[in-house]
């Protein structure tokens, strides 16, 4: 169980001002994530969950409030810790470098940072890839792989980077439902190996409950925490849990909250900003 990556989000607000239109993306949002916890934030499009992720990752600044990690300030108004290897992001549309081989992609973090010599990094990478069923593709380019395979490679890359917090921005959104459910099991397998702190955002409630230790439901813009649900399903989890009684109860608990927000978002025609 990881001891690092505990995040405290305190009264964070984010206001955008693109072309003079004042947009409040986040308003007074507070959240605590324990080290090693798998936290999933669910909310409709435009609720600000991606904005929050970007702020934690260091790609964006906040306008009010504070976030700290393991006791030291991560970001505050006017201050921002640049993105780094401690908070590794897995992007929605994938960001594997298409012009490099799988092996290079996966090992570049530790090697370029000087943390591991190339040979050792490659050995580790091969082992991890084999562990997720991707042995033998190291020399190929991302363009040759299926989208499911690419996502798995990207997860391996993220883990090889040994971050304190793993930030996942709706990583399975572009996959078809069947591939997605298999990816969930893969992700949990990898999570179980290292138990890093995970911050995962999605709009899919089922995905959220299946993966999380805690599910955080967000309101539509301006984003705030609406409800927090502790998911006490035992680990390791597999797809059969989806039809269990406890799962059904948890879903019922969360569904009303999120459906209400979904309806609100639908009516106001919110579009994604970030």
């Amino acid at each position: 169980m990881s001891l690092y990556g505990g995040l405290r989000v305190r009264n964070v607000g984010k206001v955008y001002d693109p072309e003079g239109i004042h947009v409040v993306a986040l308003q007074d949002i507070s959240l605590d994530i324990a080290p090693g916890e798998f936290c999933v934030v669910v909310g409709p499009s435009g609720c600000g969950k991606t904005t929050l992720l970007n702020i934690i990752a260091g790609f964006d600044t906040l306008t009010s409030g504070e976030i700290d990690m393991d006791g030291s300030t991560l970001t505050a108004p006017g201050r921002r810790l640049s993105p780094g290897a401690d908070r590794m992001v897995v992007f929605q549309h994938g960001a594997l470098f298409p012009w490099k081989t799988v092996l290079w992609n996966v090992t570049c973090g530790p090697v370029l940072q000087g943390r591991l010599p190339r040979a050792e990094a490659e050995a580790q990478a091969r082992a991890l890839l084999a562990g997720t069923g991707l042995a033998g593709i190291e020399g190929q380019y991302p363009g040759e792989l299926s989208s499911g395979m690419r996502r798995r490679v990207e997860l391996v890359r993220a883990l090889m980077n040994d971050p304190k917090v793993l930030l996942l921005d709706e990583p399975f959104r572009a996959l078809d439902a069947l591939t997605r459910s298999v990816m969930h099991e893969h992700l949990l397998k990898l999570y179980d190996l290292a138990r890093k702190t995970v911050f995962f955002i999605t709009h899919d409630l089922e995905e959220a409950i299946f993966l999380a230790d805690r599910v955080v439901v967000m309101t539509t813009r301006p984003g705030r925490v609406k409800k927090v649900i502790r998911v006490d399903l035992p680990r390791p989890r597999d797809y059969r849990i989806l039809t269990s009684l406890r799962y059904g109860q948890l879903e019922e608990e969360a569904l009303e909250a999120i459906h209400e927000e979904a309806l609100k978002a639908f009516e106001t025609g919110e579009r994604e900003l970030a």
Partner: protein, 270 residues
Amino acid sequence: MTEKNSGGELRWIRGPRPYLLLAGFAIFLAAWHLATAVLKVPVFSKIPPPAVVLREWFNPEPFFGVSVYTSLYYSHIAYSVYRAYTAFALAVLLGVPLGILIGWNRTFKEYAFPLVEIFRPIPPLSWVPLAILMLPGTEPPVIFVTFIAAFFATVLNTLLGVQSIDRSYFRAAQCLGFSRRDMLLHVVIPGAMPHVFTGLQIAMGLSWVALVAGEMIAGKRGLGYMIYDAYSMVQIPTIIMGMLTLGFLGFFSSALVRFLGRRLMAWRSY
């Protein structure tokens, strides 16, 4: 995902395309022949029929001194090729780094880009008089004018290439702990390559355009000069030969750049 409405490469030979191609050329040549040899349309009275051009082009003892069999023809070609490719190489060597710098470094861009944009609209050919005055000899002015044409196109396309790199790649690189140098080598340069090569194809085409003009005005050899010289001595078949040779060389050069691009970016064919 858009689909192009043309046939697949492998089915090309078996499809109607090659036959239409030949038919098209045949129609063009027939029309040319008709207008000049048969109907003798007055407007085209000075233009020789295709047969005359071809006869001269492949004549061991050409009337006007230039044909596939004369070394003069190849000498002209050699000069033109040397100038075009030298200017192109210079444009690439100077233009790509400049484009990358402008595209990547916001501060540098703010200082340098306005200057570039002021000089860019000035047609390359209008540099000819100034080039002759500034640079010694006969070769440098011609190469300089050609260089200008290729240079700005290269800078612009390289710049666009850098700017077109998805923000996610930069962010991922930051998360992976890349230094500025790592970013340049492993993200910026490879990421911009597709656009850069498109730009290089365009630049190559523009080089030829500028080169011809330069040669016509200032050169002593080369295809542009050959055309101009033939014109002044009313050797029309030679003019047409020169034009078609230029067309072919231009097309071939662009194809060469395209081919090199495909080789260097093997990752793209998937």
